[in-house]
Symmetry: C2
């Protein structure tokens, strides 16, 4: 890198990376060094590196994928073979392979440093959150129901623009399910089918005004929702959930919020369950302040020791609650299907707003899911997933306690699909994630769920159990104990 | 209706409608009189009627569906039998059955008056726009491919949160298709899979600022897009497409817009094709003003007499064009799948913005469509649809000219899936729609495509041919000629 050449810096980077790609030194699938990192190493501005990468991207040499930085593309229009060449390092730019997030918010440092320090350990135990176990999707049943639906008379609908609120029959099924399993009192007409938490919130937000309406957001809280609010320029008021319940309610009153986003069944990520008395106070707040509550009941299905508390929606007599549910945690996150239960006045606004809109979810997905529910498969699936995850939860907790009980703090309330595990030695999560990685164990950063970079739970990592097979839990936690405490 | 009773007016309406429903006088599926209409008939405010309907809706007696007003619900949580009782009229409120839009923008008067004046004529010929012919969806192939995909190794993806930009393989297929059929120069990495025009624009708009960025919008133009811009509080600057091309370009320069939404292949609804020279001027404008152009190429597939012009994207050397395409017009509107081709800098912004987001379209839909394209079904389908629609277009135009040539003005440019037909007697479209309906012919209002209620094409209606079977075109137009001119 020569700062004194007449050729602009970005062009020098562009030329050299391009040369490495064209020569085959960087085959398809190679991950480029993150912009920030490369800028630091070359002591140049990020914009310069960005410009080079964008130029390469616009010409198709590389591409960026969410959460995994820039990757070298195949030079031909065909499915590239993704080859991760672990020895791929460049002398000229030291563009080494990294498993890093390019667009991270500063919380990706942990993974970045890990990839450098322990590039040769492959992952054996992935305690990720959100995904389900490999091949747990009911493919056979789905195939059969798809065939039935496509060969039925109803398949004429494939030629039409369909109802923007969703298929009537599916809404009936969901209303029934919610009535029985969540005590949610709603008419099918209030159930609006959507294509996931984020699109549904994006739509919902168009009924509110970013210049006027403040949103109260749990702190810590789900970053996927936080980003939707932020992208739409709403002012956010953090409501601490790591302090006392009184602090929680007091902060709500101080927020002057028009909307509050909460996860009462299983606060994400702390795992807390909001007590009944606080639910009542939350509803009182909404009623007094003329505010709405978004109750994200994303994980209601999983409650292992006690019965669930009534949902806020069930307790609400003043139409202040927007209930939100999903099929991602018990059926398939790749289905992209969730739903809102709107109070009547918002349903009215919604209809006015989306008058010209079409269905947000493919008709076929909806029609097959309707049959899946109607024919009892959903109930069976739910019971099975509840049983499996209860076993995994119980095992994970007992192994954690057995192996490292005296050295860790576990945050959970007998529900959900993850635990938070804190290190009593107060090491920072980046170090904990790093150490685990060296033993082939993936546990996850929780900094991303905090608005501020400093917070009282810096020594906690997320340990999920929805995706890891049951048989991997014990050896995985043994490896973690070795990694963290040399046990 | 007694204005002097102590019981509030809204409550009186509520009680009486409820009584009619509970008694069975209004069975499930009955459509209630639109709010505006009922308010007029009772000479009370719309808010009063609204309040009553909303109360009934919140209690589940009725529900509102986009575009079709309030409908009586089944009183049980099961699939209601939708019974349209044509004789359903109430003495007390004269809540007759109507086929009217409840949330219309004032352009629904036509249909409302029609339903009153000719309630007994059933529709024989529906020249609607957008939907495809009944049962034209390739159900057999789709069923087979779904089975293949679900039984393949790739089906593990059903258990994961998948790429927010879309499945890699589908993006490759689309990039290939665009390269061959639209001259669009893009790398698969620039293709972003989305769940329809509206969701994709809603996402795109989060990269812009409603307080600062003006959007230039064709006038007349597609109301479905217009409403997305409006709902997100962007200032709109109308660009006339019904005047000269110089006026068009001049308006663009006056707009100081940051974004321009255009439909150059087949301007919706006028059917005009933007000439090459004007495309170049449009691109020059974007480059000079540092603006972006949304090229909605929703109907590129259908061009009947000449080859297509190069897309704006193909002509653009400065990365100013956001190309948008869809599978709705040639495969299925119920698929809910479209795509954007983003220029590199916007792709960069998009990735930053949607870092935390998940796929906008179900994995299965994408995977099946990928196979559909890869195995050549899409090319075959396209050719078939082009052949069928060329025949329908040619027939429709020749029958229109033959039957009413001297009395009408046809606006089209040998492309798309509709014509605009103007009455040289200058009758207003509401009357034209009304008269047609009396003969069992549905043609469509175009007022909704205009921002202002007064405009120079008030005597034009939309006549679509994507959904009507070929054999119905001639008798349908004959009926229209009878209806309009007594021919």
């Amino acid at each position: 890198m020569d700062h004194n050449l007449t050729c602009p810096l970005y062009r020098q980077i562009y030329d050299q990376v391009k040369q490495l790609i064209v020569s085959g030194a960087y085959p398809a699938g190679t991950k480029l060094m993150p912009i920030r990192k490369l800028a630091e190493e070359l002591t140049i501005s990020r914009n310069t590196v960005e410009a080079a990468y964008l130029q390469l991207s616009s010409e198709g040499y590389i591409s960026s994928r969410t959460g995994s930085g820039f990757t070298v593309e195949s030079l031909y229009l065909s499915n590239p073979v993704i080859q991760l060449d672990e020895n791929e390092s460049s002398e000229s730019f030291r563009l080494r392979l990294r498993q890093t997030a390019l667009w991270g918010d500063g919380t990706d440092g942990a993974e970045a440093s890990l990839a450098e320090s322990a590039p040769k350990v492959s992952t054996l135990y992935d305690f990720t959150y959100g995904n389900l176990e490999d091949n747990s999707f009911p493919s056979q049943v789905w195939r059969k129901l798809t065939a039935d639906v496509l060969m039925s008379e109803g398949s004429a609908k494939a030629s039409y623009y369909t109802d923007s609120l969703g298929e009537r029959g599916l809404r009936v099924q969901i209303a029934n399910y919610l009535h029985i399993h969540a005590g949610v009192n709603c008419h099918p007409a209030q159930v609006v089918i959507q294509g996931g938490t984020q699109p549904s919130l994006l739509n919902l937000l168009t009924l509110f005004d970013p210049l006027r309406d403040v949103i109260a957001m749990e702190q810590p809280g789900y970053d996927g929702v936080f980003s939707v609010f932020k992208n739409n320029r709403f002012k956010l008021f953090p409501i601490p959930v790591y302090k006392s319940n009184d602090d929680f309610i007091e902060a709500l009153y101080n927020s002057h919020a028009r909307l509050a986003y909460v996860t009462p069944s299983n606060q994400f990520p702390t795992g807390k369950t909001l007590p009944l008395a606080i639910r009542q106070r939350l509803l009182r707040w909404a009623n007094e302040e003329n505010a709405y509550i978004i109750e994200d009941d994303y994980c209601r299905e999983y409650r292992y020791n006690t019965g669930p508390l009534p949902s806020l929606q069930a307790l609400d007599h003043n139409n202040r609650v927007i209930y939100m549910g999903t099929f991602s945690k018990a059926l398939s996150p790749a289905l992209r299907l969730n739903y809102l239960v709107l109070p009547p006045d918002l349903l009215f606004e919604w209809n006015r707003q989306f008058d010209c809109n079409y269905a947000g979810v493919p008709w076929l997905t909806q029609a097959v899911l309707e049959e899946y529910m109607k024919q009892g498969y959903w109930d069976k699936r739910l019971r099975k997933m509840q049983t499996v995850n209860k076993r995994k939860y119980t095992l994970l907790k007992s192994v954690l306690q057995e192996r490292m009980g005296a050295k860790i703090d576990i945050r959970e309330s007998g529900s959900g699909l993850h635990l938070l595990v804190g290190d009593l030695m107060q090491r920072r999560q980046s170090d904990l994630v790093d150490l685990a990685r060296r033993e082939g164990v993936l546990v996850y950063n929780t900094n991303r769920y905090w608005i501020s970079s400093r917070h009282p739970m810096e020594n906690y990592v997320l340990v999920g159990f929805s995706a890891i097979p049951e048989c991997s839990i014990e050896p995985g936690i043994e490896a973690l104990a070795r990694a963290w405490y040399g046990l």
